[in-house]
């Protein structure tokens, strides 16, 4: 994955975040067909996982695990399994596709009424999320439909060349 494609993706997500409510659609066949910059995509071009027979996960899915924990765990609980105030994403992601996922994450969702106060903020300006949105989706998709268990994936593919540099650039930080 190149630096430019990460930034383009953020622009896309920002556009989607402005009130576009995508229609619910189940994600298609998750079989990985192509890899670029450590991220696998399915036949429709949506990010997906690639788990080897020995349980080793692809790099993108592993990064998704790390960044999920950073940005989403405090509400959606460990391993996407849900908490007392946000839904179980391992179930939710069975019913929503990549476009809708991005719309939710970039746009935020609210259900505030007398019975509950459920609020997910918009992450459209949060680079820690948007720079890794493909990876987070791949990880959650693996949890929802790929048989990836709870906890830290025990083994993972190595980082592709230039990954650190590209992430730092996208995050806008100097190391």
């Amino acid at each position: 994955m190149t630096v430019t494609s990460r930034l383009v993706l953020i622009a896309f997500a920002l556009a989607l975040g402005c009130g576009v409510a995508a229609l619910a659609a189940a994600p298609g066949n998750p079989t990985p067909v192509k890899e670029s910059g450590g991220i696998w995509t399915d036949k429709d071009g949506a990010p997906t996982f690639n788990i080897a027979k020995d349980g080793s996960v692809d790099w993108g899915t592993f990064v998704g695990f790390l960044r999920y924990n950073d940005a989403c765990l405090r509400c959606h609980g460990p391993d996407g399994a849900g908490s007392s105030y946000a839904p179980d994403l391992t179930q939710a992601l069975k019913g929503i596709d990549y476009a809708q996922f991005i719309a939710f994450v970039a746009g935020g969702i609210q259900a505030v009424n007398t019975a509950q106060q459920l609020v997910m903020p918009s992450f459209a300006t949060d680079k820690n999320v948007m720079c890794f949105i493909q990876e987070i989706y791949a990880y959650l998709r693996a949890r929802a439909t790929g048989g990836l268990g709870r906890g830290r994936p025990p083994k993972h593919a190595p980082a592709p060349k230039g990954f650190d540099e590209a992430s730092y650039k996208c995050l806008g930080i100097q190391m």
Partner: protein
């Protein structure tokens, strides 16, 4: 101004001598007592931690070790809110006051009239506040002073309500929730001032403590945790740390560039006050981000115990417990003020059970370090604090590199660190019993793996940068309620609990200690032996603090149930043990098999009228 200060000094002296101040106060026109009057009545619970010393020791003794087993539920009250209920109610005379988590509804209940709701106040707050509250939408209680109920709302506004009508008297915003600065703490009223801090360590909010006028809410002074001396109210020539003056720019020198501006050090815990010394005590939280590699230096004055002059805000002394935090061990837990006999001498001490697993004892007048003992022997990130005053590392913990995230750089998974980020103890307050001389401490026994990595800062967005996996500590349990001597480091007795003990303790002159468990049990325990005398399952897990009051000649015990908070994050799914192999994942029974959401107050008493 001068006049007012001397009145405060007079009131403070009176409180010290244990005298009831009968002199008329500013609120003489309505029948409500001053805080000094209210707190002097041992049947009331007028201060969030019961007293300025934060001992949570009540002199009530109707319920004692021989009759506690007969306790019964006297009455219950649903708060109407489902999220985590920390904190405790107040009782002033015939009225109980309590606050819920967001939306922060305050109730005044008539104890003379079957707990009828006298008034209720629900602030209008933007729901956007909800997701910027770090770890559930908790609130740790309201405060009382001069006929007013003081509430620190989630959206970081402090309001004063008329205790008799619930009408807003004044309202002062302390900063914007839009940058992640929120209110969760129980304010403290001292004389003519209200003290309140700020939450937001996971959003890079630079912490501060503010002194507001109890009369009209204007900000009298404000002191940050990090920044130039003027901002942190340090006097380079008089503010000391471990007996030495700190000198100029003591905070700035310990940060790279201007990282201190988004450096955390939030002040969301408990406040104590010594009227004789006129010092306010509190702790600051973690430096932001959770990736230590990104913020080199000691990151002062995060993770610090502060002693500030209550009138001017100037720091008298400070002590940083965890320089350059690598674990998220916020230093905000309560400061318990006690007079202990050490080597045959009575010493005015401050005792603090820190998240980092050490129980600190300091001389609260001078800030001298007396003891720093582990209160959980499985704490492994440090081998202990250097207690040699001649050592260059005096007062610093010696860190075990293996268990110190960042010591081998970022993007490394540091495994098997004890305690986990939620600490050997979080905000759930301990209690001190002068009769036994022991501290009763609700603790967490949880360990973690911690992998830090680079993050970007965006105002109002989380600024974390680490993946944590938490799992039960050695022995397989996650909570321990202990009776502890912080001077010797001896645990006198302990009760192991399956889940973290996240409810605050109460100790009483009846020789009975009370606490609540995450499964929802309210427990009465013999203070001397640790024997469980009474065990009652309330409707939801307890993360609130047990309190007691006297009404109509009868002693009552009250506690809020309502599982949530940090402890509730694993509620639905339970924690897994990454070291037990993939197959064992989910092997630890989930809390949801024992309890569900629900906000309720349960009040107990002995049978008979």
């Amino acid at each position: 101004m001068r006049l007012r200060e001397s009145w405060v000094a007079f009131a403070a002296l009176g409180a010290l001598a244990g005298a009831v101040i009968a002199a008329p106060t500013a609120n003489a026109q309505n029948a409500m007592p001053s805080l000094q009057q209210a707190a002097a009545n041992t049947g009331n619970w007028a201060i969030p931690a019961l007293n300025y010393a934060s001992t949570r020791y009540s002199t009530l003794d109707q319920i004692n070790a021989s009759n506690a087993g007969q306790l019964q539920v006297a009455w219950t009250f649903s708060t109407g809110v489902l999220r985590g209920h920390e904190g405790q109610p107040l009782v002033i005379g015939d009225v109980m006051y309590l606050v819920t988590p967001f939306p922060n509804t305050v109730y005044a209940l008539d104890l003379n009239n079957n707990e009828r709701i006298i008034w209720q106040y629900t602030p209008t707050q933007n729901p956007e506040v909800i997701p910027v509250m770090c770890c559930d939408t908790v609130n740790r209680g309201v405060a009382y002073g001069d006929g007013k109920i003081i509430l620190h709302q989630a959206d970081n506004t402090v309001v004063a309500l008329d205790a008799q009508t619930g009408k807003v008297d004044w309202s002062t915003p302390l900063g914007s929730y839009k940058v992640g600065a929120t209110g969760t703490d129980a304010p403290l009223v001292v004389g003519d001032k209200v003290f309140a801090g700020v939450s937001g360590g996971e959003f890079g909010v630079n912490g501060f403590i503010a002194a507001l006028s109890l009369a009209d809410g204007h900000i009298i002074w404000k002191a940050n945790s990090e920044g130039p001396d003027s901002m942190i109210k340090f006097d380079p020539n008089t503010t000391t740390s471990l007996g030495k003056v700190v000198g100029a720019d003591s905070s700035l020198k310990t940060w790279k560039g201007d990282q201190w501006k988004i450096g955390g050090g939030d002040t969301w815990g408990w406040y104590s006050y010594d009227p004789k010394l006129n010092l306010l005590y509190y702790g600051s939280g973690n430096p932001s981000t959770w990736n230590p590699v990104q913020r080199p230096g000691d990151n002062k004055w995060s993770m610090t115990i502060f002693a500030r002059d209550a009138d001017t805000g100037v720091a008298k002394w400070v002590y940083q417990m965890t320089p350059h935090d690598q674990w998220d061990y916020d230093g905000i837990n309560e400061m318990i003020l006690a007079d202990l006999t050490i080597n045959g001498q009575q010493v005015p001490v401050l005792v603090h059970f820190d998240r980092n697993g050490l129980a600190y004892v300091l001389n609260r007048a001078t800030g001298a370090l007396i003891a720093a003992n582990k209160y959980d022997s499985d704490v492994n990130w440090t081998t202990g604090v250097d207690m040699d005053p001649s050592s260059p590392n005096y007062g610093r913990p010696s860190v075990v590199a293996q268990y110190a995230p960042g010591s081998r750089g970022a993007n490394v998974n540091y495994q098997g660190i004890c305690p986990a980020a939620l600490g050997s103890k979080d905000e759930q307050p301990a209690a001190f019993d002068p009769q036994t001389g022991l501290f009763y401490v609700p603790t967490n026994h949880v360990c973690m793996d911690y992998e830090p990595y680079p993050v970007a800062y965006t105002a109002g967005q989380p600024y974390v940068g680490a993946t944590l996996s938490m799992f039960p500590g050695p022995g397989g349990y996650m909570g321990r309620f202990i009776a502890f001597d912080p001077v010797t480091g001896k645990t006198v007795w302990a009760i192991n609990d399956q889940f973290s003990d996240w409810g605050g303790a109460l100790t009483t002159a009846g020789g009975v200690v009370f606490y609540g468990t995450l499964k929802g049990y309210l427990r009465a325990v013999d203070a001397k032996t640790g024997k469980i005398l009474y065990n009652f399952k309330t409707p939801s897990g307890i993360i609130g603090n047990v309190m007691t009051y006297m009404h109509g000649g009868k002693q009552y015990i009250a506690v809020l149930s309502g599982v949530g908070g940090w402890a509730g994050i694993g509620l639905a799914a339970g924690l897994t043990d990454p070291h037990a192999g993939l197959g064992a994942v989910g092997g630890y029974a989930a809390l949801k098999n024992y309890t569900a959401l629900g906000g309720q107050l349960t009040v107990f008493a002995l049978p008979g009228s």
